[in-house]
């Protein structure tokens, strides 16, 4: 089987029947990375040697019949997760030399299962971006067309899964950073409910919005990986102590009789006609499966980008205060006192987008502007959250596009930050409301770029959206298409 066809569920069975080994599939992934990543740039750090060692240990465990669900599966991690002994840059020059002394809880959970960590994946600097172009390691490229962005901020994670470099990956999602790159790269991505997955050891961007989630090749893998990372963690006081259901067990229950809401504010002018056509076709698929499609309204949708860019930047300005050149990271100091060192370190270490967000957030929190900007945004956040609560009184889940367009071209939106921010209009409200949502492939543009369908669930309703996603996947074959790798980058676009 080619590397880009490997799935968690498929490999589990092959391991069990001893038709392949973890060492063999890990080597297959490493070869695939070697042959594709010079172009795609999905990896920031490779862990070949350690990966093969872990794979060998996993094979022993499999032989002994002591395997867990994910034992021996080669995965990639967004470079935002602290990994003990493995460099973790968060896409930033300021963490260029940072080697964590501990594992994030999700990494610890995967290691306990015997997962093979193949490497650390490219991302927008501190997860601030929608195109992977703000990475200090340079942009990862979209495997469907290297002239286009893969989306962001978990761009490397989506690329690695789409290109067959890893079987699955973890990303994080603050305003769409799992769902939008998953949509742009034609893979499955899920942002869990706030509090569902521990954020301990995940480098913080906006603490009231950040969540960790899976990026996979199919819905069943998504259910398996979510099940492995979800659950309460005493080290993250915002993680919620409620039982983790068996997501895989309920996948096949179907959508007959389910009420699926179509929020009219998501089908607006500005939505690309090709995206609209694909989403409309998906609606018909659900109708055919016996679901009840219901028009609903989320009236404050249009305010969500403005609300988000105050709250997220305010929280970021506070979280990123820790990068001061004292305890870890790269220090810049050419004489002078402590304050000079702070300024030199931060000015040299942060890129333009991160500086812009720190500045906006600092401004929104500063004396005289706090009420007008920060508190105002938190009040609007309440209205946005109430929109969802009201909608979920009528329906079981919501169906929308993930992004207004398919992947845009490299460099297309870098000059105008506001245009870049507006590309997250359909994903941001979910983070503000704190609920769960996922992206699944639902079609292609004429240019051959993938289009994503968003399913939004009630808080802790991950099982519902996975079930609906699985039903759609069974009825369609979009998820089976793979990038053909025959397109070359235009010389003038790089």
């Amino acid at each position: 089987m080619s590397a880009s066809q490997l799935t968690i569920s498929g490999l589990r069975q092959e391991f069990q029947e001893q038709r392949t080994t973890s060492v063999a599939v890990t080597q297959q992934c490493l070869d695939r990375i070697s042959s594709t990543d010079t172009e795609l740039n999905a990896f920031v750090t490779r862990c070949d040697e350690e990966a093969l060692k872990t794979a060998a240990a996993a094979d022993t465990r499999l032989k002994e019949g002591a395997a867990a669900a994910l034992t021996g599966i080669p995965l990639g991690l967004k470079d935002i997760f602290n990994t003990r002994g493995v460099r973790t840059t968060c896409g930033s020059k300021i963490l260029d030399n940072y080697i964590p002394v501990y594992d994030a809880t999700v990494v610890e959970r995967l290691r306990e299962q015997g997962v093979v960590i193949v490497g650390k994946l490219n991302m927008d600097e501190f997860a601030m971006g929608s195109s992977n172009e703000t990475s200090a390691s340079g942009a990862a490229l979209n495997p469907w067309d290297p002239n286009r962005v893969p989306g962001g901020s978990s761009g490397g994670s989506a690329v690695a899964v789409a290109a067959g470099q890893v079987v699955a990956a973890l990303g994080t999602d603050t305003g769409g950073s799992i769902r939008q790159p998953a949509a742009h790269c034609g893979v499955v991505g899920l942002k869990p409910t706030y509090g569902r997955v521990s954020r301990y050891g995940v480098i913080a961007f906006a603490s009231s919005l950040d969540q960790v989630g899976p990026i996979t090749r199919n819905v069943e893998d998504c259910a398996l990986l979510l099940g492995a990372i979800a659950g309460y963690d005493h080290r993250d006081s915002t993680s919620v102590d409620c039982p983790v259901p068996d997501y895989q067990a309920s996948l096949r229950d179907g959508v007959a009789g389910k009420k699926i809401g179509l929020p009219r504010e998501y089908f607006i002018e500005g939505l690309d006609p090709e995206v609209k056509r694909a989403v409309d076709a998906a609606i018909e698929v659900y109708r055919g499966l016996g679901a009840d499609l219901v028009p609903v309204s989320l009236p404050h949708t249009d305010y969500s980008v403005a609300c988000y860019y105050l709250i997220a930047t305010a929280e970021a300005s506070s979280n990123l205060a820790r990068y001061d050149g004292v305890r870890f990271g790269v220090r810049h100091s050419s004489g002078g006192g402590l304050i000079d060192m702070y300024q030199q370190t931060r000015s040299a270490g942060f890129g333009a987008e991160v500086k812009r967000r720190i500045m906006l957030g600092t401004y929104a929190l500063s004396s005289g502007y706090y009420d007008a900007y920060y508190i105002k945004a938190q009040k609007v956040r309440t209205l946005i959250r109430q929109d969802f609560i009201k909608a979920f009184e009528q329906v079981d889940l919501l169906l929308t596009p993930v992004a207004p367009t398919a992947a845009f071209r490299i460099g297309e939106k870098t000059a105008d930050p506001l245009q870049m921010y507006l590309s997250d209009i359909f994903t941001i409200p979910v983070n503000l409301a704190g609920t769960c949502a996922m992206s699944i492939p639902c079609g292609f543009t004429e240019a051959g770029m993938p289009i994503g369908l968003q399913l939004i669930g009630k808080p802790f309703g991950e099982g519902d959206i996975l079930q609906a996603a699985w039903a759609f996947e069974q009825a369609t074959d979009w998820h089976q298409r793979q990038p053909t790798n025959n397109r070359k980058p235009d010389e003038n676009s790089l």
């Binding site: 030399n97 915002t238 919620v240 305010y303 403005a306 205060a321 333009a352 500045m359 609007v380």
Partner: protein, 95 residues
């Protein structure tokens, strides 16, 4: 103009960033455009609305007051740009 170069310079000081003259000019223009955009929030009357700090309502999260192992001095200093006598070393603090 929502924001001037003087305002931006002041905020940069609060954020411990120093901006080059070109950065200052670009940053001022971009922040002005973004602040102009976020002004649309004022179309909404929010007088009686309670602000949301966290999407999942929760009170203080307490845990048992138990001693657990911590990372220790060696690990804590492992990434220090400069250290001396088991401490982080920084440039002079008092002018």
């Amino acid at each position: 103009m929502k924001i001037t170069e003087e305002d931006v310079t002041y905020v940069a000081g609060l954020a411990r960033l120093s901006l080059t003259p070109e950065e200052l000019q670009t940053m001022t223009g971009q922040m002005d455009a973004i602040l102009d955009y976020v002004d649309k929030l004022n179309e909404l009357n929010t007088d009686d609305i309670v602000p949301t700090a966290h999407a999942v309502p929760m009170a203080n999260a307490f845990r048992a007051d138990q001693v657990r192992p911590s990372i220790g001095v060696t690990s804590a200093l492992a990434n220090a740009p400069q250290e001396v006598d088991n401490c982080f070393q920084v440039p002079r603090v008092i002018e």
